[in-house]
């Protein structure tokens, strides 16, 4: 599903910063992978490249069989809309839109009609127990609710991949556990999932843990999340 070959990325600032120094990584369809590493290890950069939110300097990136290189903004937007769902640490909900409108937004950019859009968005909110909160604005929701709304938003277009950047970073341990359970359930439906985290407990809930250090993959650890005691593992 995701195939990275020798990916390089340098940020040209006052001092050029070589963030990724040749990443090779394969993620198969239906896998649940976590990327771990200290801050500055390049894990967020890697996720942004995978999510086509940022470009890379060298190497090859194939997403679902398509070469992702030098895409126009239009093509990038289409790829993101069609294949990828994003979950962010800070939720990135649009503050002046209701939960329902937020979830329906990706469908708007797909050109789905208003009625169908809202019906589908409501279905996803309902799936995460947020039906009664559909008309609430993000600032009227708790952290866990916000993250569930953003998961609903990521899923509403039926993407092939979910990319989660520190999905539990802003949540307490109980809510984190709930959110992780949801992500595992989503993965169980066959959707590939890549989670960036610096928490071991979160990484332990994935089958494959990619350790990143100084812009290189240090090791790839196979893991059996079912052995873990869920509630203890987180935090």
């Amino acid at each position: 599903m995701i195939k990275l070959e020798n990916i390089h990325k340098t940020y040209f600032g006052a001092q050029p910063l070589h963030v990724l120094k040749g990443i090779n990584l394969n993620v198969e369809e239906g896998e649940m992978v976590s990327i771990m590493g200290a801050s500055g290890s390049g894990k967020s950069t890697l996720l942004n490249i995978v999510g086509i939110l940022d470009n890379y300097d060298d190497g090859d990136y194939h997403l679902a069989g398509h070469m992702v290189k030098d895409l126009s903004e239009n093509q990038a937007a289409e790829f993101r809309n069609k294949y990828i769902g994003f979950i962010f640490q800070s939720f990135n909900l649009i503050p002046f839109k209701t939960a329902l409108e937020n979830v329906a937004l990706p469908l708007f950019y797909q050109g789905v009609g208003r009625k169908k859009r809202n019906a589908l968005a409501m279905e996803y909110l309902d799936r995460f127990g947020l039906k009664d909160w559909a008309d609430h604005y993000p600032n009227e929701l708790s952290g866990g609710q916000k993250q569930r709304v953003s998961i609903a938003r990521a899923l509403v277009t039926s993407p092939k991949i979910i990319l989660a950047d520190e999905p539990t970073g802003a949540l307490d341990s109980k809510t984190s556990a709930e959110v992780m359970q949801i992500l595992r359930d989503v993965n169980a439906t066959g959707i590939t999932m890549v989670i960036v985290t610096h928490e071991r407990g979160i990484a332990n809930l994935t089958r494959k843990i990619v350790h990143l250090k100084d812009g290189l993959i240090e090791s790839i650890e196979e893991n059996d999340p079912d052995k873990m005691d869920f509630t203890k593992e987180i935090k």
Binding site: N48, G51, L53, D54, N55, E73, N74, A77, E78, R80, N81, K82, F86, F88, N92, L93, I94, F96, L105, P106, F108, Y109, Q110, R114, R153, T157
Partner: protein
């Protein structure tokens, strides 16, 4: 693209920043309001001045007798040049000349019943009406039949007419017999004061006057031309005519005086040039004013876009195409400029229409001689259409730069922007 969702997004963005939207919009409203006011003032001035000339036909020339300034061929300077029938023959021999209308001018005393008043008494041809733009308010002007029969008929001006009616209690002067310098004339018409605002005038047929006074000296002569359309053609003709007249009357062709030749066409072209210049000037001022409004909108849009950078980043991550972001920002700016621009335009048009109505009911602004200087200070549909185009262009211009900047930003940078 431009469906209900698109517009609701834009109006939502505008509603979220009501005060800002209104303040920005005000600059645009004010700019277009002032533009309309200035343009209509310019129009008023133009209408006012041209209305004085409007009824004169354009292709006319007037020659006035004058005094020479230079000595020439043994003649001393200061000689008074009077035009004669030779001048008429000269003019009629020129192919550019259509019809010559000499004027016999006399002073006279008009007597009607008990009332008498002194008048300027002119013998004219029927064409004189068109040349001078004389408006007949009652009855008719001198016609060809009067000329042929040398009829003793007369037109009097409004002022004389009103005075005679007032003092004698008659209802109308038409058909009445008046005495001018002892001769009886039948009044056939009443005309408004001429463009110079002169009062106390009477017009009789040229042939009648010639018979009475046996006049062959003319102080003033008018004629119409054909085939002279441009300023250059008229200037050339004027110079040629001056040379010919100089030869006929033996005064120096370099003499600035001797005779005065005035071309209505040149005057009117000059006048139009002045008003076109004024108009261009007004547009420049108006547009400069509008530009300050546009800069305001652009600035506000820049801030709006900056504030919305995160949101735009999120939208991009969710699959918004650059075009949809560009369009929504440009349309937002366009909506502000057109809505507030139209408010300004409607206010401007309303104010000018009110002034126009008020001036019409009070008879217009005049300079005291009956010459109007300000008439119908309103704008026409052409100006409204151009102002609308200016608004649309400025709205797009104001929104485009900020929109383009936001499109260029990478989604991840936009999302991480604080």
């Amino acid at each position: 693209m431009f469906n209900r969702d698109f517009w609701s997004e834009i109006f939502m963005a505008l509603r979220r920043n009501k005060l800002r939207t209104v303040l920005t919009g005000f600059a645009i409203s004010w700019g277009i309001f002032m533009l309309i006011i200035l343009l209509s003032a310019g129009n008023g001035l133009k209408n006012g001045v041209t209305s004085n000339f409007a009824d004169r036909i354009k292709n006319t020339y007037t020659i006035w007798s004058s005094v020479t300034e230079l000595p020439y061929k043994g003649h001393k300077a200061g000689r008074y040049i009077m035009m004669t029938n030779k001048d008429i023959q000269l003019l009629e021999s020129l192919y550019q000349v259509e019809e010559v209308s000499p004027v016999i001018s006399k002073w006279g005393t008009l007597i009607f019943g008990e009332k008498s008043r002194s008048i300027g008494f002119n013998g004219v041809k029927p064409i004189y009406k068109n040349i001078e733009g004389i408006k007949v308010s009652e009855g008719r002007f001198i016609n060809e039949n009067d000329m042929k029969t040398k009829a003793k008929v007369v037109l009097i001006d409004q002022d004389t007419n009103d005075e005679l009616l007032r003092t004698t209690g008659e209802m109308t002067m038409i058909g009445k017999t008046v005495f001018i310098n002892g001769l009886s004339f039948t009044v056939v018409g009443v005309c408004k004061a001429n463009m110079w605002g002169e009062r106390g005038l009477a017009y009789a047929p040229y042939t009648t006057m010639q018979t009475i006074y046996n006049e062959n000296k003319y102080y003033q002569m008018e004629f119409t031309t054909k085939g002279l359309d441009t300023k250059e053609e008229n200037e050339a003709f004027k110079a040629e005519l001056k040379r010919k007249l100089a030869a006929l009357h033996e005064f120096s062709p370099d003499d600035r005086r001797g005779v005065w030749i005035d071309s209505q066409m040149i005057d009117s072209l000059e006048t139009m040039k002045i008003f076109n210049t004024i108009n261009i000037f007004i547009w420049i001022i108006g547009i400069a004013m509008l530009i300050s409004g546009v800069v305001g909108v652009s600035n506000i849009m820049r801030i709006t876009v900056k504030e919305r950078t995160n949101e735009i980043g999120i939208r991009k991550a969710l699959g918004a195409k650059p075009r949809s972001i560009l369009l929504s920002i440009v349309m937002e700016s366009l909506v502000i400029t057109t809505i507030f621009g139209y408010i300004g335009m409607i206010c401007g048009i309303g104010v000018t229409e009110l002034i126009g109505m008020a001036m019409e009911s009070s008879g217009g602004l005049s300079n005291g001689n009956g010459m109007s200087v300000f008439v119908d200070p309103t704008v026409d549909i052409g100006i409204v259409i151009s102002a609308t185009l200016v608004l649309i262009v400025s709205g797009v211009a104001a929104g485009f730069a900020p929109a383009w900047n936001s499109v260029k930003v990478k989604p991840i940078e936009a999302m991480n922007y604080r």
